[in-house]
């Protein structure tokens, strides 16, 4: 397989991304991106849009990966290429730019002839051996389920369905600690029955070990008691995953029916709730959680978002299947007529999915706080979900004050502080114009919660000042910037802008350019013509500008 032609469609934003990925082929100039002369057979340097000259034969195969990567990284997707099967076809895996990328970007033509088209959806990991001795990293990944795998399971993929049922239940046979433990207590917090963190290192407790000794188990690698290994499997896997230096290693059998380990958030919170006094947190009793970076929140609706995603994937898939089918019929027809086989279809590249960056999908509410609030508010909650480790509760405007009162007053919630309150303008949305969010913080429970309300244009919200006095200025700021009024507020006046300011600056229709904007580059104005024109214009508008003195 190789790439014969590369060209740049119109619309290049000169972002240098392609040159960074594949400097041998692309050259980014001041105003466009060119295919280099030395890479082309005709030796010219241009965008190659009209002529579509072929690449040099030696480069065709060698630079394939780089060109695909460049095309994927192009933010405006103007890099196009023709791809043909070559005699020396590489294995599919080699085409995948990054090993963990869930989707196979290109369906190889040669493979397509022999086998049914590879599903574009995330590939399931290869079935694992029953006893994983050698490749522990893989075992951890598979057992835990990387984000990609979780997504794969959620998606309606036929490939994800098969699972191997085992006679024996899965259990951990051995656990040991490699060198490099930083004594961080994370493992003990996750699995106190197995690990004990001492002053200098971490040991496997004697109680769970077959040989009954307590040590790091690094050299001897003695096994766990079978019953313990079965019972504690999820906590051990969690501990290994949470270890910041990844020195906890283990062997496992019967992985197939493993469920992803439960999210440890709830346990951590339970531990946190032991507080020494009002507003004093006992940090020692609650070990530091690892920083949970992202997951995201869809707007305006979680369900709409999920439906859209699903529909887009399905449409994509259907298109690809149709392309494949068309190709099959065309090929059959061509073979029947004795002509050359037509070009195999090229699947549009999915977005480059970098290992370091992923958009986490939202998940349904599992947090006890959200469930509790949904019980309390019964019907006034329109959505509740978790994302980026943040809890989001969307309530109806009528139930807002009630919600805030519950959040502050309920003994099991105790959100004492309104940390932030702000709004967002959605001029294009149906049924509402603003979302107002309340960031609540529970100091005693170390927890955050976001309450979201959707507000129509001209609709008043009830003020939260009575419940949270800190809302005073923040509501004034929202009024100042968005024009949302809060009924019951003691002083509903502008705060940052002057009293006589017109308009609400943070609304989307508010212009960023305007009165007083300097649109003349005076450095270029040697003769003063532009200046005079500007003065005249200003005079017409009734603005009296002073002529600056010449230095």
């Amino acid at each position: 397989m190789a790439i014969t032609k590369v060209w740049i469609e119109e619309g290049c934003i000169v972002c240098n991304a392609c040159e960074a990925e594949c400097p041998d082929v692309f050259h980014v100039t001041e105003d466009s991106c060119h295919i280099k002369g030395e890479a082309r057979q005709d030796g010219k340097e241009s965008e190659n849009r009209e002529e579509k000259a072929e690449l040099k034969p030696d480069l065709q195969a060698n630079l394939e990966e780089a060109i695909i990567a460049a095309a994927a990284s192009c933010p405006v997707e103007v890099i196009k290429f023709d791809q043909v099967a070559s005699a020396a076809a590489k294995p599919t895996a080699a085409v995948v730019p990054v090993p963990t990328t869930p989707a196979t970007p290109i369906a190889p033509a040669s493979a397509a002839e022999a086998a049914p088209p590879v599903s574009p959806l995330p590939a399931t990991p290869a079935p694992m051996p029953h006893v994983v001795d050698t490749d522990i990293e893989n075992a951890v990944d598979a057992a835990l389920g990387t984000t990609a795998n979780i997504r794969a399971a959620a998606a309606p993929s036929p490939a994800a369905a098969p699972s191997i049922t085992e006679a024996a239940k899965p259990r951990v046979t051995k656990v040991w600690i490699e060198e490099g433990c930083i004594v961080c207590n994370a493992c003990e917090a996750d699995s106190p029955e197995v690990f004990r963190v001492t002053e200098t290192t971490c040991t496997i407790k004697a109680g769970v070990r077959a040989d009954g000794k307590e040590s790091e188990n690094r050299a001897e690698k003695s096994g766990l008691n079978p019953s313990d290994g079965e019972r504690l499997i999820s906590s051990i896997i969690t501990a290994a995953a949470n270890c910041p230096v990844e020195v906890i290693k283990y062997e496992v059998i019967g992985e197939a029916t493993l469920v992803p380990p439960p999210v440890v958030e709830a346990e951590a919170h339970a531990a946190v709730e032991v507080a020494a006094g009002p507003y004093v947190i006992d940090y020692k009793s609650a070990p530091n959680r690892q920083v949970v970076m992202p997951k995201t929140v869809p707007l305006p609706s979680l369900h709409t978002y999920q439906e859209e995603q699903k529909a887009a994937m399905a449409a994509d898939e259907a298109k690809w299947i149709k392309q494949q089918a068309d190709f099959e019929t065309a090929k059959a027809k061509a073979l029947a007529e004795g002509k050359d086989a037509p070009k195999p279809p090229v699947r549009a590249l999915p977005k480059k999915n970098d290992t370091d960056m992923e958009f986490p999908a939202p998940s349904e509410a599992k947090d006890p706080d959200l469930l509790h609030l949904m019980d309390l508010l019964d019907g006034k909650v329109s959505q509740a979900f978790e994302q980026s480790g943040e809890l989001i509760l969307q309530v109806h405007p009528d139930g807002l004050i009630e919600t805030l009162m519950f959040c502050k007053g309920d003994a099991s919630l105790r959100y004492e502080m309104l940390a932030d309150q702000t709004a967002t303008h959605y001029p294009a949305a149906n049924g509402f114009a603003f979302s107002v969010v309340y960031q609540l913080t529970s100091i005693s429970r170390r927890k955050r919660l976001r309450i979201r309300v959707l507000v129509k244009e001209g609709q008043d919200l009830e003020s939260a000042v009575e419940i949270y006095p800190s809302a005073n200025w923040m509501e004034r700021e929202i009024y100042d910037m968005f024009g949302i009024r809060f009924s019951g507020h003691p002083d509903m006046t502008r705060i940052l802008c002057p009293e006589d300011w017109e308009g609400y600056p943070l609304r989307k229709e508010y212009p960023t350019l305007g009165w007083g904007q300097r649109d003349i580059d005076f450095r270029e104005d040697r003769s003063g013509v532009l200046m005079r024109m500007a003065m005249e214009q200003a005079g017409n508008m009734g603005i009296n500008l002073k002529v600056p003195k010449a230095d």
């Binding site: 910041p244 940090y283 929140v297 980026s388 932030d420 960031q439 976001r450 940052l496």
Partner: protein, 366 residues
């Protein structure tokens, strides 16, 4: 025969001790405050609106200009907020360097506070002593990123470059003498009778009121709470650092002074740990050249020198700019507590209260 009336007086917007363009409308009965209304907005530049029209990479520059004495903290908040929005994992070495610079920045911010606060109360010398050390840290920033005040120190996904050679030596040299410098400030102030008279029992704000008013940072910690985001919701590499949360229970200006001094000592400790345990590895995550967001929203808060600094991002589908960016500015929220602190007290206490709240008007008005 005689008529008594309250005098209305404007403290600011041009006034030596309002640290910028804060205007406080005071009603005075003699020298006793009967009413106090802070009026803000003189430095409103619409940073949030501007950032909505800049890409995620460009917007960080504006965070330097909100709290301009703690720009590195602001950069960290922005960078981590965007990383949370996109789900970017930052290399551990970058986290360590970020932590170190942020703590250095905490020291500069507290030094500036110490100097100006003492100057407001009349102790002039501490100001220049504090600036001597601040100057040194600013040169460290200059060595790191070329700028002293408006640093834009971090990049989304990590750092632009690794530590330059020799920087560690600079930091170590500073670390070696900084504890003695804090002792020097303490000899001038901590046991000074006039300083104690001016600060003990002044501008009281207990924990309940502080939390109700959303006040965070050293002001809250001086009231007995040990709420510190570095411990409560660890970010960067604070989870791996060994440090104490400085607290006091007196809830007055003197307690806040002690808390901030202790925070400088703890920052010193954290910087040492960062230097000693600096891991090897890359400092930048692999990112595409253009960040395009999904439809989502995040709120990321860090413990800035002045309190909880939160960045709220809303992303739209395929957007290269934040659809909405909001800064939860600690100075803005903390300033609400001013009138509660000073009503019924004397004019000179207003100055002490403004000083002890440690507001920066660039951040209040944004």
């Amino acid at each position: 025969m005689f008529k008594t009336e309250e005098m209305e007086i404007n403290l600011g917007p041009q006034h030596p001790s309002t640290h910028g363009v804060l205007r406080v409308k005071l009603h005075l009965d003699g020298e006793t405050i009967t009413r106090c209304t802070p009026m803000i907005g003189y430095l409103h530049r619409g940073v949030e609106k501007i950032c909505e029209n800049k890409t995620f990479f460009q917007g960080q520059v504006w965070t330097d200009r909100t709290d301009y004495v703690a720009s590195v903290s602001n950069n960290l908040g922005w960078a981590e907020g965007v990383e949370k929005l996109f789900g970017i994992t930052v290399p551990r070495r970058a986290h360590y360097i970020r932590t170190m610079l942020t703590e250095l920045n905490r020291i500069t911010s507290h030094l500036l506070w110490l100097g100006t606060h003492a100057l407001d109360i009349g102790a002039m010398t501490v100001f220049l002593y504090a600036f001597r050390e601040r100057e040194e840290i600013l040169s460290i920033f200059e060595a790191f990123c070329g700028a002293r005040l408006t640093t834009t120190a971090f990049r989304i996904g990590g750092l632009r470059e690794d530590l330059p050679p020799g920087l560690e030596k600079l930091v170590r040299a500073f670390q070696a003498r900084f504890l003695d410098c804090i002792d020097e400030y303490e000899t001038l102030l901590t046991e000074n009778r006039i300083w104690k008279k001016r600060t003990i029992g002044v501008a009281l704000l207990n924990a309940e009121d502080a939390i109700a008013l959303g006040v965070t940072g050293p002001v809250l910690r001086a009231a007995g709470s040990n709420y510190d985001i570095r411990k409560a919701f660890p970010y960067a590499s604070y989870a791996e650092m060994d440090f104490e949360v400085a607290t006091q229970t007196a809830a007055d200006t003197y307690a806040r002074y002690l808390v901030r001094l202790e925070e400088m000592r703890q920052a010193h400790r954290i910087i040492n740990q960062c230097l000693d345990g600096l891991p090897e590895g890359p400092v930048m995550a692999k990112l595409p050249k253009v960040l395009k967001s999904e439809v989502n929203e995040v709120y990321h808060a860090i413990e800035a020198p002045k309190g909880e600094l939160g960045y709220y991002f809303v992303g739209e589908k395929g957007g290269q700019n934040p659809y909405r960016m909001h800064i939860r500015a600690p100075s803005f929220i903390n300033l609400q507590a001013l009138s509660k602190m000073v009503v019924g007290r004397l004019l000179a206490d207003v100055i002490a209260a403004i000083g002890t709240l440690d507001v920066v008007l660039g951040e209040v008005d944004r």
